[in-house]
Amino acid sequence: MKRWFPVGLVVLAVGLALYPLQATGYGVRVMLQLFMWIALAQSWNLISGLTGYVSFGHVVFFGTGAYAASILIVTLGWAWPLACLGGGVVAAALAFLIGWPCLRLKGPYFAIATLGLNEVMRVVVSYYEGLTGGGNGLSLPTLHASVEIYYAMGLVAAVVTAVTYVIVTSRFGLRLMTIREDEVAAEAMGIDTLRYKLYAFLLSAAAPGIVGGLSARDQGYIEPLSVFPLIMTITMIVMALFGGKGTIWGPVLGAAVLFAFQEVVWARFIYLHQLLFGAIIVGVVLLMPRGILGVLQQKYNLPRTI
């Protein structure tokens, strides 16, 4: 079992790398979005799955990265790879700015504060029309780079998953988990919980910032409503929950399954889709809050590296 897993991973990676060579443009864009959701769900998992601090406005990093990268491309003429990295840096900086005060808040209040942050950023972006195009949105110069962006997204998704693996198997990750288990005891045992929470929050903001930029580049156009919607936060949360929050592969599994579901249902039953999604959310929360891998982990005493 243990041996063929890495082999299987390599095979999968090679397959995904070769995919664009024979897939349609549409196929490439679909897979690119799947990679994006994996990166998003995995990032949310880094802060909320490991430390237990629920970021209920996490899409704010996606949107901020999208706008930062787009502005760098449009106003300063940066090449998109660098601009997207810039988006990640800006998102991480925002996480630091907001995390420093807000991570001192207790559970429900932190969730409300992050939700508020998302709304604030949406409004701020709409306000500075000169820079961001305001409510009319921002158009990027035309570029057909779906395949390159496919690889970029895939790379980000892979890196975030690898980073999660490294964290979960390290003492840093253990300390993050103690914050989730019992923050008072963690503090009493010498763990500077604020610093660790801040690190996790920063890390969890970088990837959404980058994929926000990549997504903006791919779409060619962004507007406040499209990059700061609450439903995106909810989606990445439900993906992580469904697969198993706090695990390494859970968010990947959840993203894959729910994304496939979305593609199939949305295309055919657009009205039913929203209702079904609402039902899924309720179902996951009530019936399987630990997620698939979480349940398996508990039942079969699987190691944490799942």
Partner: protein
Amino acid sequence: MAPILEIRSVVKRFGGVAAVNGVSLALEPGRIYGLIGPNGSGKTTLFNCITGVDQADEGEILFKGWRIDGLRPHQIFHLGMGRTFQVIRVFPELTALENLLVVTTAGYAAAERRARELLALVKLERLAGEFAGNLSYGQQKLVEFIRVLMTDPEMILLDEPAAGVNRTLLNELLDAVRRLRDQGKTVLLVEHDMKVVMGLCETVFVLDHGEKLAEGAPGVIQADERVIEAYFGR
């Protein structure tokens, strides 16, 4: 000898009530102290003020001569003071070994060695890989106890170490505490079990309604009328 812990006129209020109302204590290093008092006398609040979980409203707390009131718990821990909790607070989804490993910042190999040493000390080596949440109450209590010892603190605060513990385990714990004292460490424990306090502590502080009622050797305290009154009423 300079006191290792000094509490000067500490006051802590919750709403309109002063849970701790002007308490002053001084602890010499290398001794075992007890903190007793009827329910609601402010023992746990005082404990929490010392360890930084709560902030005192007035007064000062000095550890090894430095002011620690106002510091966060993790800072106080790194100054050399560890504590256990009344309600066991191990990390349930971490293994016993991991519970110990997260505490130190020492290199992984050294930390693991020390952790296994401590586990062997309380005869729990075979449970190192077991999730702490799956251990029995007594085993969890032991893990919490040795967890405090991972960084070799100079002072250890024990919050009701005897609670819910059977006689055999209790004797082991008490022996361990005496060995710590012999190594030069200072121990302060909050405890309801009078036998434990009288048998273990060299000096006992008595709190009542947030104020220090009496202080002295166990035998003296036991015979003190005010203490008897506080516990059993008039």
